[in-house]
Symmetry: C2
Subunit: 246 residues, 2 copies
DNA sequence: ATGCATTTGTTCGTATGTATG
DNA sequence: GCATACATACGAACAAATGCA
C-alpha cells in the first residue's frame, strides 16, 4: 500500500489547503499506507509532495495530532499513533494481570534486588524511621517486549525477614509475599505526579527525554492494615495512562 | 538561621562534588536557612562559596530542582519550593472543598463559556456522537491566588438545556447543576496522563514550560448513572499531586 | 565528550482572499 | 465601491531536540 499518488490540491474551491491535506493523510493512514508506529514523511517532504508551504503542512499535522491520529516528536518526526495501555488501577490490581487483559504477554526484568537503609521518602511511605532496613526491588515491566513500567518496590525487613530470598526465587511479587505469609494485599492509596525522566529512565522505558513520566507512589497493606510494600512506579506517557474507578 | 559556614568540600573521597553540594543545600533548606519561597544565592555566589565551577553548582541545582526541592527560573534565580497540594480524589470530591481543607481561599476565573460542537474526544467522553451540541466552561482554579488547576468542563446540552444560563449565574458547577435538576453527582472514572504545557497553559498556571502537567479526564454521572459532565483538568506538577484512595 | 546533520518548533514579516458593515 | 477585520498561505531565519559518527 502506497500513499495517494494524486497529490493535486484544488485551490480556491472553498476548502482550505490544510484541510485537504488532513483528509488525504487520514485516508492514507486508514488505508494502511502508513501503518501504526510508522513515521510519516518529514514536513519538508510533505510540503514538496503537496506543493505548499511547510506551515500549511504543519497546520494539518497539528490537527491530526490534536485528534490523536499521529504523534509528533521534535527532532524525530511524526508517527502514526499506536495503541495506548489504560492501566485500570483498583484496590487489587496486579500489573501482570492487567497486561494479560490487554492481550499482551507480560514479562519483567529485575534490575536490582538488595537490602538498603530507608531514606526519608521510603521511610515515610512504609511508616518506619529513616535508616530502617528494607528490601528494594527494581523491576522493568514489559508487555510484548515494550516497556510499560519501571517500579522500585520497598519491603520492610522487620515485618518480612524472608522477603529477599523469596523475591530471588519467586517469579512475581504476589508469590513472594505469599511465601512470607501475606496471602493477600490491597492498595491503600496512590499518589500521582509527573516529571521528566532521567536519562537512565528514558533509556529503560524507551521514551524521549522530554516526554513526562507518570509517577505513582503506592502503599500496599495486608488484610490487617499493616503496610507491606511501598512502591514507586514510573510509567511512560502517553503510552500508558492510569484509570481510576472508584 | 544562616547557611552552613563550613563550605569545605572533600575531593576524591568517592562522593562527587555536586552531590556534596546537594547535601549541603538540602541541610540548609531543612534547617530553615532558606525559608520556603526564598531565593537561593545566585549560581555565581554558590560557585564562589563552594570553590567549584559554575557547572558543578548547576548540576547540584538541577538535582534539587528535579526532586522538587527548589524551582529554577531563568533570569530570576532559584527558589525554595513552596508547599504542595495533595488533591485527594474521591467519588464526590469537589475542588473548592479540597482547597478549603488545605486552609486556602478557593477562587476561580472563568476563561470561556459557550456552546460548541463536540469533537471526537469530548463526544467519546460524554457518550454522544461527534458534532452534538455541548456547553464548554473553561476555568482557572486558584488557591490563595496561586493557580492550581485549569479545567475544561463539558456538559451535554441535550440533557441539560439550561446549563449555559445556570453557569453564567451560579458561582460553582455544583450549584449550576443543581439548578438543572442534578442534586448530586459522582465521579465515575478518572483517566490520568501527563504532558508538557502549551505556552498558554504555562502562563495561566504560572509554571515553567519544561515542568509537566498532570492531565485528568473525569466523567461525572448523576445518581441514575447518566453522564452529566466530562472534564479535562490540568494540574501543575509538582505543585499539585493527585492522591487516589479506594 | 564534541560536532554535525536532520527534523520539528517558534517567531518574525508579507501578501492575499473572504466576510462584514 | 470602500474600509476593516480575520483567517489563510508563503518565506526566511533561528532555536531546540534527536541521532549518529
Amino acid at each position: 500500500m502506497t500513499p495517494s499518488e494524486d497529490a493535486e490540491l484544488a485551490r480556491e474551491d472553498g476548502v482550505t489547503l490544510w484541510r485537504q491535506i488532513v483528509r488525504t493523510l487520514e485516508r492514507d493512514i486508514a488505508a494502511g499506507a502508513y501503518p501504526v508506529g510508522a513515521r510519516l514523511p518529514t514536513e519538508a517532504q510533505l510540503s514538496a509532495r503537496f506543493a505548499v508551504n511547510r506551515h500549511t503542512v504543519r497546520r494539518a499535522l497539528e490537527d491530526l495530532s490534536r485528534r490523536g491520529l499521529i504523534r509528533v516528536e521534535q527532532g524525530r518526526g511524526s508517527f502514526v499513533a499506536e495503541e495506548t495501555f489504560d492501566y485500570e488501577v483498583g484496590p487489587r490490581t496486579r500489573l501482570s494481570e492487567w497486561i494479560r487483559r490487554n492481550n499482551k504477554e507480560p514479562s519483567g526484568r529485575v534490575l536490582e534486588l538488595k537490602e538498603i537503609a530507608a531514606d526519608a521518602p521510603v521511610a515515610a511511605g512504609l511508616g518506619l524511621r529513616p535508616g530502617a532496613r528494607v528490601a528494594r526491588l527494581e523491576r522493568l515491566g514489559l508487555a510484548d517486549d515494550m516497556p510499560v513500567s519501571l517500579t522500585s518496590h520497598h519491603f520492610p525487613l522487620s515485618r518480612l525477614p524472608g522477603i529477599l530470598a523469596a523475591l530471588r526465587e519467586a517469579p512475581t511479587i504476589t508469590a513472594a509475599l505469599a511465601r512470607c505469609g501475606i496471602a493477600d494485599y490491597l492498595r491503600q492509596s496512590s499518589r500521582v505526579t509527573a516529571r521528566l525522566p532521567h536519562p537512565r529512565e528514558a533509556a529503560l522505558l524507551r521514551t524521549p527525554r522530554h516526554r513526562p513520566l507518570l509517577i505513582a507512589e503506592n502503599i500496599n497493606v495486608d488484610r490487617g492494615g499493616s503496610i507491606v510494600e511501598y512502591g514507586i512506579s514510573r510509567f511512560p506517557t502517553p503510552r500508558v495512562q492510569l484509570v481510576f474507578e472508584p
